[in-house]
């Protein structure tokens, strides 16, 4: 069984992002980039399926500028077999990514596509679902457990108020939630091997997709700064402030 995993290059989760002074975008100048954490979980799940003898090949794909090859190499170091970069410029919105991924799905014919449930930059939570619709594949989103069984996969989903298990016929799409697994570290020998693994580059045109944008970003601004707290001397003062200053009681 072939598994396709999508990964995105995003600002490192631990970096404090800043808005550009003119408010046009997030300032990415000299900022540390990394694999989107949910995509990392997707890679780990695919590699585990391979180690368990369920998957025969793991192909990792990223849509983005040349620099996203770094993240593809990281996924290859974690155990993916080969990589595909779909080269695009600038920000690409979820619908376009989904169309490009559909093109890759048609080329590769994977039985299972694993994606992160969302990326921590845009927080859209759309790509997996859109790909499901475009490619006409079953989808199990927010997965906390994935079990492949013959020509089906059961996916335990984290939904409001509990867990839901769905059984999907392959080929299918899974999007990962945080608790699915704990990704491993990339070992140095594997990082070195990853450099020699195959990495193909396609253009959107190769996949028959026209990159269009339907969204315009108007403004980016940092969240309001939290005001410093104050200490009150008594319960009475607290009640007074809540009533008369904060006006919450």
């Amino acid at each position: 069984m072939k598994v396709l995993v999508a990964v995105k290059r995003v600002v490192d989760y631990n970096v404090k992002v800043r808005a550009k002074a003119d408010g046009s975008d997030v300032d990415l100048n000299n900022v540390k980039m990394a694999i989107n954490p949910f995509c990392e979980i997707a890679v780990e799940e695919a590699v585990r399926l391979k180690e368990a003898g369920v998957a025969s090949e793991v192909v990792v794909v990223s849509v983005g500028e040349k620099s996203c090859q770094e993240q593809i190499r990281t996924a290859l170091a974690l155990g993916a077999d080969r990589g595909i970069q779909v080269e695009t410029e600038g920000a690409v919105e979820p619908l376009v990514v989904a169309k490009l991924l559909k093109g890759v799905v048609e080329k590769e014919q994977p039985q299972l596509v694993i994606l992160g449930k969302q990326s921590i930059d845009g927080d859209n939570n759309q790509t997996g679902q859109m790909l499901g619709a475009l490619a006409n594949m079953a989808q199990g989103t927010f997965a906390s457990e994935v079990k492949v069984d013959g020509d089906a996969v059961s996916v335990t989903r984290e939904v409001d108020g509990g867990l839901q298990t769905v059984k999907l016929k392959l080929p299918a799409i899974v999007t990962t939630d945080l608790r699915l697994n704990e990704p491993r570290y990339a070992s140095l020998p594997n990082i070195m091997k990853a450099k020699k693994k195959q990495l193909d580059v396609f253009s959107p045109a190769d996949l028959g997709v026209e990159v269009k944008s339907h969204l315009t970003q108007l403004r980016v601004e940092p969240p309001a700064e939290r005001q410093a707290g104050i200490k009150v001397a008594s319960v009475d003062e607290l009640v007074d402030k809540l009533k008369n200053e904060a006006k919450v009681i």
Partner: protein, 471 residues
């Protein structure tokens, strides 16, 4: 109110102290005594006569003058994360806690310095620096609680010493209240100042025996660029030093730490952390380096390959994100806290870097022979020649008996330290815990000079008496 059994201060003294700092800042209840009366060590029962929380330099001076008049001993207290029982008041001393001298002011971007009250938490200074696009490079696991005054008084080291040195290297100036209550303003931020003795350097690492550090001008550095972390599995101590030499020949390391397999097992089990890799190894080395260009990682990988070929390294991982770098650091940084539940007997010993393998194998022989039934956890700043030997107390052994047995073996360990010209306290200071062993590292003449220096700063002998050496 006075809940303390021993010893009590006279009502007149208590009221004079209350006049200085305010009645609510003179604490004599049992809970405050236990809280402020001891550091991270647990070998002494805290019995301070009172805990004082001054809010200004003048208040500190007034307290010290009063104490000097009445012959009251003082224990300066910082974040109380010390590991040598320096900030321990086990003899009815007055504890002066510097928590309220916590202002950060007068940031100077040209000189890259900032003025800190003694009570500024180390991490606050780190965060302040970060906010200015700079970096305060002294760092260790207790930075969230330790104070700048405490760091200066212990000359704290930590995990970046190999690149950035000790606290000493970042103190551009400091203010000290001496044992007579006078205020010294030492070095005033000067880079060059060869006009006589540099008394500032004597105060750094004096563990509160020369006076109370009330303020310091701290220097800041440029932040490291895109630091990457490697954790390597290493078969033996000799190999660790080979790895260090190989990397240092080609790269400027930010850190070179090590820990043993048992240390790793403990943190993995108790902190829920992930092992770096499954390949078993006796020891692990953690390296950090800056990535100024992509070539740095290439270099690190080439060195890794070389080390594997030589048989010095069995496996390794590299951080791929800041989150991973932090998780890998936790494997090393969480050790102290993890093992604190076993009331560890700690030795913080050092020798020159090149002698470490021979030194360690001798120490290991003695320790393993002497403690066949105890668990021993090794870790430390091996790139600085500094190792932390931790003997864990079996749960069913009483503390006193445990301490006594460790004390006996310490002597043998320190004899080895002496033979190697090493130090019985590399970075934790001497306090009460190591003072019996000071002669293994310092000559009688040196210790006598230290006593004379103390008398010059503190003629009444009230500043943290009994710490480092007896008067």
């Amino acid at each position: 109110m006075n809940d303390l059994a021993t010893p009590r201060l006279s009502p007149a003294t208590l009221s004079a102290l209350a006049d200085i700092v305010g009645a609510e800042r003179v604490l004599t209840d049992a809970e405050s005594a236990a809280h402020y009366g001891r550091d991270w060590t647990r070998f002494h029962t805290p019995t301070p006569s009172a805990v004082l929380l001054p809010g200004s330099i003048e208040e500190v001076q007034d307290i010290v003058r009063l104490a000097a008049r009445e012959g009251l001993a003082i224990v300066p207290s910082g974040g109380r994360t010390g590991l040598s029982a320096g900030a321990v008041a086990a003899n009815g001393e007055l504890v002066i806690a510097l928590d309220r001298l916590s202002s950060i002011a007068d940031f100077n971007p040209v000189e890259r310095t900032v003025r800190c009250g003694a009570g500024v938490i180390t991490e606050q200074l780190q965060q302040f620096a970060e906010g200015q696009g700079l970096y305060y490079p002294v760092d260790f696991a207790s930075a969230g609680s330790s104070q700048i005054g405490g760091n200066i008084s212990t000359n704290a080291g930590g995990i970046k010493v190999i690149r950035h040195g000790m606290t000493r290297d970042w103190v551009a100036g400091l203010k000290l209240v001496t044992g007579t209550g006078e205020l010294l303003d030492l070095n005033r931020g000067l880079v060059k100042n060869n006009a006589g003795y540099d008394l500032r350097q004597l105060v750094i690492g004096a563990e509160g025996t020369l006076g109370i550090v009330v303020e310091a001008t701290m220097a800041l550095a440029r932040p490291p660029q895109d630091p990457a972390v490697l954790v390597l599995g290493v078969p033996d101590m000799g190999a660790i030093m080979q790895v260090l030499a190989a990397y240092q020949a080609k790269m400027d390391l930010q850190a070179f730490e090590f820990f043993s397999e048992l240390a790793l097992q403990k943190v993995v089990e108790h902190q829920g952390l992930q092992r770096p890799f499954e390949t078993p190894a006796e020891y692990y080395a953690l390296l950090e380096f800056e990535q100024l260009t992509g070539a740095d990682m290439e270099q690190a990988m080439a060195l890794f390959e070389h080390c594997v070929e030589q048989g010095w390294v069995v496996d390794g991982v590299a951080s791929q994100s800041v989150a991973q770098a932090e998780s890998l650091w936790r494997l090393r940084e969480d050790i102290s806290e993890t093992i604190s539940r076993w009331t560890p007997y700690k030795n913080d010993i050092s020798t020159t870097v090149a002698k470490v393998p021979d030194f360690l194998s001798e120490v290991e022989q003695v320790v393993n022979g002497a403690y066949p039934d105890f668990e021993i956890v090794w870790f430390g700043h091996i790139g600085d020649g500094n190792v932390h030997l931790n003997v864990l107390k079996p749960d069913d052994l009483p503390v006193d008996e445990f301490k006594q047995r460790c004390g006996e073996v310490s002597q043998w360990v320190f004899e080895i330290v002496q033979r190697y010209g090493g130090s019985v306290s590399a970075e934790h200071g001497v306090g009460l815990l190591k003072k019996d062993y000071l002669p293994y590292s310092r000559s009688e003449l040196e210790i006598d000079l230290m006593r004379q220096i103390k008398r010059a700063f503190d003629p009444a002998g009230i500043m943290n008496p009994g710490k480092i050496f007896d008067a």
